[in-house]
Symmetry: C2
Subunit: 392 residues, 2 copies
């Protein structure tokens, strides 16, 4: 008999971040490790009301099986919200997914044969690395400059025969980096020229607290592009509702087939409550509130880092999102730093898991969305102390 | 550049059933095609109340990200309900999934390499065929007798080197067949002897309206078994909450890894509402109500078939579940019959999609859970008329 597990399972592991989160469940630890939205901002009473209205008005429908494509009214709202931001999207090209994480699984399934080349950013989003790994591609990485990917490296990767470029152009997880307008156009032009699918993941795009909104890379792609979105960061992640815009009908149809096989459809109840919430509340005002709060938290973190971190440690200065990225001098290990930091009751995510090539040893990710300013000040002070004694 | 889609996508198609459901959306059509629970029985006010209590008591927690394994309280309730039916299950071996469909995807992912042999029943559950197909196994089928699979065929399949046997031993979809106690023990013994993983799918097991409950095949497996369950048929499918019991730790861990990559976790909100519903309502009384109603509907369908179907057409006599299975004389095509039936405003699912070998032309599936007795009488009358004129 063949071995018990499929070959694809030999290269994937539990999320290192999720394992760290277990260690940092201790309430005394100030954790910058997770990637959680601030729960104080969840619209609990509004969701309570929306849920009641769903059960009172369309209870049996909300509890029944539904279509794989997703709630038509919800898809219409998603399209309207894109329209407000200048992007025309046909609701029939939107597929509702069980969180935007699911798109990475579905995309991997429909596009990736073993050994296909997938280009990702360096550092890259861990959830994507995990999801794609199950389809055994070859990862090719391009370095992220302050304004986006290095286009020479990207073109070289495309020339060598890439199938897909996966990227998070707005306030990337983990680095906090955003693409400049020039880089957006440049990436789209390269994808068009080399026939590479562009898979744009945009969970944080609406959380900009500095600078100006920029068009998606997807909007510049003339051939093959997919744009993923999510309600997790602008409303609440507990619903597990994301979506993908797939204008190419053959791609859309294949995504639907893969989704049917994966979970039939996303929770009808969850979609109905989210739709009702969006129909009866001002989500734009709510997002403005989140932006304002995260902006303050980010400002506080940058300020405290300036005060407590030693010379030689550099950081990104994100204009939105939930994360910033720390680079220590060469030769420092953030894995070793973590042990010391946890003893001092502060946590973060070491950078190495975000690098498929095993580099990134001297980097780490800090989350600023899930801590108030008092905890940020105290946490950065503790972390600065750890780094100080570590660098000695 | 390599071709656009992965090779695995070349062998899978949209669910034929879901396509039929679109045709039969016409409210004048009496449809026995779907596999829907009766929405009149959904506990809408109880879910409304449970949802309100969740938002009022643990709103922010219910809206946040949560663990991949699933809500601990919900898993404890699932284990307690198994205990009432005589099966001891450790809650830590339960993984909550996005419907039990997701287990088929996760199972395929962790176990199946291309060309691995998967044994399924003939006819077999279409959702499993679809989910497994994406991992390109070789399907081997065993015929279903009235009391379960043919054990000689099963042993021959195992001898030839099978990795997994996927089965629905209670009121199978599509056939309505249930395994006898002897067959259950026989299947488990063969799985143990040949080291074949037994994947037991049991969404209907609690919906028995005739005969006596029998232990799961899983309970007789001494080595490798997985038991899948679902709240879709006993509470409501719109939540998309299923689960798998995986007592072997290495298998459980691999399932968790695959689930993380697939959708991080099942909707926290949906799990919280379902848990609260279960904590504050008598689900056993509710299930008794469903059993009573479906039993009457099944009895009515069998009676009307006796009255309106011509000689030479045989049916299964399910003791539970939602489906019965019709076999017409050899040479009759249920695909052709469907055209005639839809013109006469009645629908069903032709049997062929349930056969991976392209046989089953003369068979069809009827659903009795989603039509009241008046519609069953009228629908079977129409269908009998179609079959009569078809057999002439």
């Amino acid at each position: 008999m063949s071995q018990q597990f499929a070959r694809r399972m030999s290269t994937v592991h539990r999320s290192f971040i999720r394992e760290i989160l277990k260690v940092t469940a201790d309430p005394e630890i100030i954790s910058f490790a997770g990637g959680l939205p601030n729960p104080e901002l969840f619209p609990v009473p509004a969701m309570d009301k929306a849920a009641h209205e769903v059960f009172a008005n369309i209870g049996a429908t909300a509890l029944q099986y539904s279509t794989t494509e997703g709630d038509a009214g919800l898809r219409a709202i998603i399209a309207e919200r894109y329209a407000k931001r200048g992007l025309t999207v046909d609701p029939d090209t939107i597929l509702v997914t069980t969180g935007s994480q699911q798109i990475l699984d579905l995309g991997g399934k429909i596009f990736l044969d073993r050994g296909d080349k997938v280009v990702i950013e360096r550092p890259g989003y861990l959830g994507a690395i995990q999801a794609f790994s199950l389809f055994e591609p070859e990862f090719v990485t391009v370095s992220l400059d302050d304004d986006g990917p290095n286009l020479e490296e990207l073109e070289a990767a495309f020339k060598a025969g890439a199938k897909c470029f996966y990227a998070v152009p707005n306030f990337q997880n983990p680095s906090g980096v955003s693409y400049s307008l020039e880089k957006r156009k440049g990436v789209a032009a390269l994808c068009d020229r080399y026939g590479v699918l562009f898979l744009e993941d945009d969970p944080y795009g609406e959380l900009r607290f500095l600078g100006e909104d920029l068009p998606s890379v997807f909007s510049f792609c003339k051939t093959k592009g997919l744009l993923c979105g999510s309600f997790s960061k602008i409303a609440a992640p507990g619903f597990r509702i994301g979506w993908v815009v797939a204008p190419q009908k053959d791609i859309y149809d294949k995504l639907v087939i893969a989704k049917q096989a994966a979970d039939l459809h996303t929770s009808t109840v969850a979609q109905a409550i989210m739709r009702r919430y969006l129909e009866t509340n001002d989500i734009e005002a709510h997002v403005a509130l989140i932006r304002e709060r995260y902006g303050r938290q980010r400002e506080c973190m940058v300020e405290m880092i300036g005060k407590y971190f030693p010379e030689g440690v550099t950081i990104t200065r994100p204009e939105g999102g939930m994360f910033l990225w720390v680079t220590m001098p060469d030769g420092c290990s953030s894995m070793e730093l973590l042990d010391m930091a946890v003893r001092d009751k502060v946590a973060f995510v070491p950078g190495r898991p975000f690098y498929v090539d095993g580099s990134g040893e001297n980097t780490l990710r800090l989350n600023f969305s899930n801590s108030d300013e008092a905890r940020i000040e105290e946490g950065i002070k503790r972390l600065g102390r750890s780094i100080q004694s570590f660098l000695k």
